[in-house]
Amino acid sequence: MTRFGGRHYSDAMSVRAIRIDAADNVAVVVADVEAGGRVRLDDGSELTAMQPVPRGNKVALRAIAVGDPVLRYGEEIGVATTDIAAGDHVHTHNMGGRK
């Protein structure tokens, strides 16, 4: 990746996703990812997106059971409203705030 590259958010093989805190179970993709596309974290680990994940959206890094917390910034940003699998797109359709 080019350090000052501006648009070099991804390479041909995978799209960069940023996990802010080691405890997080989601990461944010910096470019659009297709279903089946590869997502790469800065530690070199990779996973496959189960659905399209638009730029800036979250991808699950591991399974999150319904009712379990979704963690970003090392903090709870909401809870899963359905069972979420690793690689799933995570947004308003499968998570919400604690009521």
Binding site: I18, G56, T92
Partner: protein, 388 residues
């Protein structure tokens, strides 16, 4: 850097220092808006502020409006002011002057019903303002340092990257400003809902922690009352489109603007800080109202992060715009001062924060921000429990 963070401003009689030396022409009531607007058209150098308030509301709102408008007049970036009223309103020239109190700044007032109508009032205000502008141009400068600065923090049109790029970059600049003795105000209580845990861990003492908890809990209760089951999605459509799923996710990104130093004080809307360092103000999440509260508290500049892109500036208080992504910077380069989106392509937060801090210094030394050049002022006063 602290030795180098010096600028020449205008020392006011209350000891605070302005980084601008503006003549403010201020409507006390909506009915005076036309006269103020006309004076603004005639004299490009005055800061003309109108608003839809000053009448037609009960005590709590009128009190908030008086406190806020008085604070704006006292803001150190204001060198002199002319109040324009109608004559029958509760927020009258006389009452507002009394709330402003003695500032040592030239302050004049005029009442449209006494002055013979809108045309004659505009002519008289224009003449007064020309005289004030000439006096301001002669006013000597005084040296100031970072310890004289109060920086307001704002985000508008947040996106999912705001909490990873622009907000933490501003937060690191805030940490350095605070280390040099400066003050920064973190506001937007709506955007602290769901982020109470990390905020409480940063409270300087138990009393401040209790105040923060009460403030955020009350705002959450109001939000739940208004939005019901949708309270967890107290987000603008653009926030959701960008990938933010809940208010907690937005909030955790928003509070990153405050950096990492302890919260020294919790302020009511438009209340002047009594402590240096990072302070928190209870304001709506609505940008324009939040900026107004912090300017009324004396902030001389505003750092405003944006993901979706906002052109908003503020009257008399320079607004520095920081984008959270490079795409919006590219589309709105004419409105945005710093592109923190480069963090996504490998530039470090430290590098961007250095750029922000050096721009804040240049702005304190007189460089105009893009919002200042573009004259994109927005102004709105918080209303009691009617706006989120």
């Amino acid at each position: 850097m602290s030795d180098e963070f010096t600028f020449d401003g205008w020392r006011r009689p209350d000891g605070r220092i302005g980084i601008r030396n503006h003549c403010l022409v201020l409507a006390t009531v909506v009915c005076a808006a036309g006269v103020v607007r006309e004076v603004g058209r005639r004299l490009a150098d005055v800061v003309a502020v109108e608003h839809p308030h000053g009448c037609g509301r009960g005590g709590p709102d009128i009190g908030l409006q008086l406190k806020t408008l008085a604070g704006l007049v006292r803001n150190p970036n204001i060198g002199s002011a002319i109040l324009v009223g109608l004559g029958c309103e509760p927020v009258s020239v006389g009452l507002l002057s009394a709330v402003i109190g003695e500032t040592g700044k030239p302050l004049k007032g005029i009442v449209i019903q006494d002055a013979g109508g809108s045309g004659k009032t505009a002519d008289q205000v224009e003449a007064m303002a020309r005289e004030m502008l000439a006096e301001l141009a002669e006013m000597p400068r005084s040296p100031g340092t970072a310890a004289d600065l109060t920086l307001a923090l704002e985000c508008g049109g947040s996106d999912t990257f705001s909490g990873m790029t622009a907000n933490p970059a501003v937060g690191k600049a805030v940490d350095r400003l605070v280390a040099m003795g400066g003050t920064a105000i973190l506001s937007e209580t709506t955007e602290m809902i769901g982020a109470l845990g990390p905020l409480l861990r940063r409270a300087a003492n138990d009393e401040i922690a209790a105040q923060l908890k009460k403030m955020v809990d009350e705002q959450e209760a109001v939000t739940r009352k208004i939005l019901g089951d949708f309270a967890d999605r107290a987000l603008a459509p653009g926030n959701v489109e960008s990938g933010l799923s809940t208010i907690a996710e937005k909030s955790l990104g928003c509070i990153a603007k405050g950096g990492s130093t302890p919260v020294r004080e919790v302020l009511a809307y438009a209340q002047r800080p009594s402590k240096q360092g990072l302070v928190v103000m209870d304001t709506p999440g609505y940008d324009a109202e939040s900026m107004t509260g912090m300017a009324a508290a004396g902030a001389q500049m505003i750092a405003f992060t944006t993901g979706r892109g906002s052109p908003a500036g503020f009257p008399a208080v320079p607004v520095v715009k920081v984008s959270s992504n490079s795409e919006i910077y590219g589309r709105m380069t004419g409105d945005i001062d710093v592109d923190a989106g480069r963090v996504l392509s490998g530039v470090t937060l430290d590098e961007v924060s250095e750029e922000i801090l050096s721009l804040l210094l240049r702005v304190a030394r007189g460089e105009k921000t893009k919002a200042e050049v573009n004259r994109q002022d927005v102004f709105a006063i918080a209303q009691t429990h009617q706006a989120l």
